[in-house]
């Protein structure tokens, strides 16, 4: 029986922007809710060994980036030599809902919860889509 690979969920967790905190928290909450997803610390692609670099080959990946620089998506392509199955960008989600733009990069304020929820909803939809594709 073929073992279905878990979905790789990779957050940029960028320290420099409020959107990086949103990507981190939304990703982590999904990881704690489900057992069909796994993650890797993005900087490990460079700092780790072959096993870390093969993460994106071994697991179909969904990347969650804070901004248009899309470090997580680019990291998967650079080190895994594959494209992410799906790329989510927080600033795009926030742009569609102007009132959701986060202000603090160091903490999730109560008004940021809505953006975290929107991001989690989007991640959940993409997990469903990628799982269907992989079947």
């Amino acid at each position: 029986m073929k073992i279905k690979p878990k979905i790789g969920l990779i957050s940029c967790s960028g320290e420099g922007l409020p959107e990086g905190m949103i990507s981190r928290v939304a990703t982590r909450r999904i990881l704690e809710e489900r057992d069909d997803v796994v993650t890797i610390c993005l900087p490990l692609f460079l700092a780790g060994g072959q096993e870390e670099r093969d993460f994106a080959k071994d697991n179909p990946c969904i990347t969650v980036d804070g901004c248009g620089k899309m470090c997580a998506a680019k990291g998967v392509q650079m080190y895994g030599k594959v494209h992410p199955k799906s790329s989510i960008v927080i600033s795009d989600i926030a742009e569609k809902h102007e009132h959701l733009k986060p202000k603090s990069k160091s903490r999730i304020e109560s008004q940021d919860e809505k953006l975290v929820e929107e991001t989690m909803k989007r991640i959940t939809e993409e997990i469903g889509r990628v799982e269907e594709e992989e079947e």
Binding site: E15, P43, C71
Partner: protein, 134 residues
């Protein structure tokens, strides 16, 4: 007498998403950059180094850096070293925990009161490194 201008330090946490210690690195960095030394320090997104963003690589080569790592993989330090950054100090949270064995951090999303204390102690170490180097 003219006051000697200190160069701005870049504090780079690993922000590891797998363990509470990664969150502590991040929290410690914000304590320094936003509360303790906002005029003398700044941070960057570590993933920009991982994807070899040219502007960020130049920045860490020209500016003294202090890395803060949550686990033995030392991603922040290794990313800076890989790009020949100006590494002036490194902190391992595991050392801070060894020095404070009674403090038990919470989890990734909520490091708890002890995690906050560990972050403060880490921030003090960062400030000390900057003070010693200036």
């Amino acid at each position: 007498m003219s006051e000697k201008k200190r160069s701005k330090y870049i504090i780079i946490p690993c922000s590891g998403i797998g363990k509470a210690l990664g969150t502590i690195t991040r929290r410690a960095t914000y304590i320094v950059t936003e509360e303790l030394l906002p005029n003398d320090t700044d941070s960057i997104c570590l993933p920009l180094l991982t994807i070899e963003d040219e502007e960020t690589v130049q920045k860490i080569r020209q500016t003294p850096c202090i890395t803060v790592d949550g686990c033995v993989a030392q991603c922040a330090k290794k990313n800076v070293e890989h790009h020949q950054g100006k590494l002036k100090g490194e902190i391992k949270i595991l050392d801070v925990i060894k020095e404070n064995p009674k403090l038990k951090p919470g989890n990734v999303l909520d490091i708890g009161p002890d995690g906050e204390k560990l972050a403060r102690k880490t921030a003090e170490k960062i400030v000390k490194i900057i003070g010693d180097k200036s």
